[in-house]
């Protein structure tokens, strides 16, 4: 398939209702950190962008939101063409300019504090990171607590960034500034808003 066909195919079949379904999954996941929200395959983006991450991008990104792509995605012209055609979102030159960042390889990703953190007056002007993960259960366990969690909740995404727990602690300390994370796994997603604290982590 040539780039033009790949970039046009694979959007939402029903843009209005699909976008609403994806948003509600993200909203519920953000309001209840650590819960895994199922998401049927609604988008078919070109590899290495996953169906879930693609659907999140279609639901949230548009010409108002610069998007930053990590190097594996940046290298794929079909991904850029697909995002461009379906969302109209401009590409951010640096992580600090991005409203959203799509990260296909979280293990090698740039430090969390390199992304937009917002300001003390406008903490909402920060980057939301969309991390592509293989699943939400096979990695090291993260025990979560904070707003949205009654007592504790547990999530175990594999292949997270280096020193993630330490980086996330620093992200907590910057509150109200900081980044929020959407973990996009095949068929499901979960969120880590900046208020969520990671209590312990199994070795």
């Amino acid at each position: 398939m040539d780039i033009a066909t790949q970039s046009i195919d694979g959007g939402f079949a029903e843009p209005v209702f699909n976008a609403q379904a994806v948003f509600r999954a993200i909203m519920d996941a953000m309001a209840r950190p650590g819960t895994v929200q199922p998401l049927p395959q609604l988008a078919r983006p070109p590899a290495p962008l996953s169906a879930t991450a693609g659907a999140v991008a279609l639901a949230l990104c548009d010409n108002d939101t610069p998007v930053w792509l990590d190097p594996p995605l940046q290298a794929e012209a079909p991904v850029k063409a697909w995002l461009g055609f379906h969302t109209g979102a401009p590409l951010a030159n640096t992580p600090a300019d991005a409203h959203f960042a799509l990260i296909a390889n979280p293990k090698e990703m740039a430090a969390l504090d390199g992304f937009a953190q917002g300001t003390q007056e406008y903490p909402d002007r920060s980057t939301t990171l969309i991390l592509l993960v293989d699943d939400l259960a096979s990695g090291p366990s993260l025990l979560l607590e904070g707003p949205g969690i009654e007592k504790t909740s547990m999530i175990a995404p594999p292949g997270m960034p280096r020193h993630f727990v330490e980086q996330w602690k620093q992200n907590n300390q910057r509150f109200p500034r900081g980044v929020d994370i959407i973990l996009a796994a095949p068929g499901s997603l979960a969120c880590l808003p900046r208020t969520t604290r990671i209590k312990t982590m199994e070795a």
């Binding site: 379904a21 948003f23 909203m27 519920d28 953000m30 949230l60 909402d124 707003p147 509150f175 900046r194």
Partner: protein, 303 residues
């Protein structure tokens, strides 16, 4: 496609266009991530005047889907003008199912009350907010209030509550009683009676706040600390009522005064009409309850 002459133009699902919904949805996600912080958003003109809940309507329109069941209340009542017209609006533009029963609703849009029936984890409560900034009447400049939130400088609010005590002997604020969310942001709970403030604390439901004219969205996620400001020697307390509801006999609920005649006759009845009807249907009687109880319509399915 050729439109039949009788067909009128139709709106997008839930009235708003998709780009507006995305913008509002992004603001809602930021609001949830920063509990109590007022996220600016590009509020749209709605087919109703400011003050009629345009903020709440925009939030509801952005989150609602075809499977949702919507309840709208105005001061606890399902059958007053504001509630009826907003419910009719969403029946028309989103064709969703509507209900008056708190337990059956997935989204409850409210103008200043939280239902008496406990909310559950799947529900979303959408508040219509007139003035989202709790510090606005103390400091009119947005630049200054923004800095006060940034620096967590809330001394002025405590001075205001102290002045209440100095003047009246007690904290005289009875509605829009300021709260602190998760130990960080001071937030206006919208002009709910302070009776409802404790219901916000660690509520299992997600609470979203929309202010259309002031162009702000904020949120309280489930199980989040919402603490009413007070002093050690003047602790926060809610209103109490001397009599139970005159129709259903409920105690420990919020009551409205209803004038009965022009000789000073009056009664106190539940502000939450659904709660009152449920109790009467369940056989509870107040001292002014009529002999037989006729239940009103409850749920209408989606079209």
């Amino acid at each position: 496609m050729t439109a039949q002459p009788t067909e009128i133009a139709t709106y997008n699902f839930a009235y708003l266009d998709e780009q507006t919904k995305r913008m509002i949805r992004r603001a809602i996600l930021k609001g949830i991530a920063i509990p109590g912080y007022q996220v600016p958003f590009a509020s749209r003109e709605m087919p109703m005047p400011y003050g009629w809940g345009t903020g709440g309507v925009q939030v509801t329109a952005s989150i609602i889907g075809p499977d949702d069941v919507l309840k709208v209340i105005d001061q606890g009542a399902d059958d007053t003008t504001n509630a009826v017209s907003i419910r009719a609006f969403f029946k028309k533009v989103a064709k969703v199912a509507v209900t008056t029963e708190t337990a059956n609703a997935t989204i409850i849009q409210t103008r200043h009350r939280i239902p008496e029936h406990p909310l559950n984890a799947g529900q979303v409560l959408v508040f219509q907010v007139p003035i989202p900034e709790p510090l606005r009447f103390l400091e009119p400049r947005e630049t200054e209030t923004r800095k006060m939130h940034a620096l967590e400088e809330y001394g002025l609010m405590h001075v205001k509550l102290y002045e209440d005590i100095a003047k009246h002997g007690r904290i005289a604020t009875t509605y829009a009683y300021p709260v602190k969310v998760e130990g960080r942001y001071v937030m206006d709970p919208s002009p709910t009676p302070k009776f409802d403030n404790p219901k916000m604390h660690r509520s299992p439901a997600l609470q979203l706040f929309g202010a259309g004219r002031e162009k702000r969205i904020y949120a309280v996620p489930p199980f989040t600390d919402v603490v009413s400001l007070d002093f050690e020697d003047h602790p926060f307390e809610v209103q109490t009522f001397d009599h139970p509801c005159a129709l259903c006999g409920a105690e420990n609920v919020y009551l409205d005064e209803v004038i009965l005649d022009d000789h000073g006759g009056h009664m106190f009845v539940c502000s939450d009409t659904d709660h009152c009807e449920k109790r009467r249907a369940g056989g509870h009687h107040g001292h002014l309850a009529p002999e037989t109880h006729l239940a009103s319509e409850k749920t209408e399915p989606a079209k």
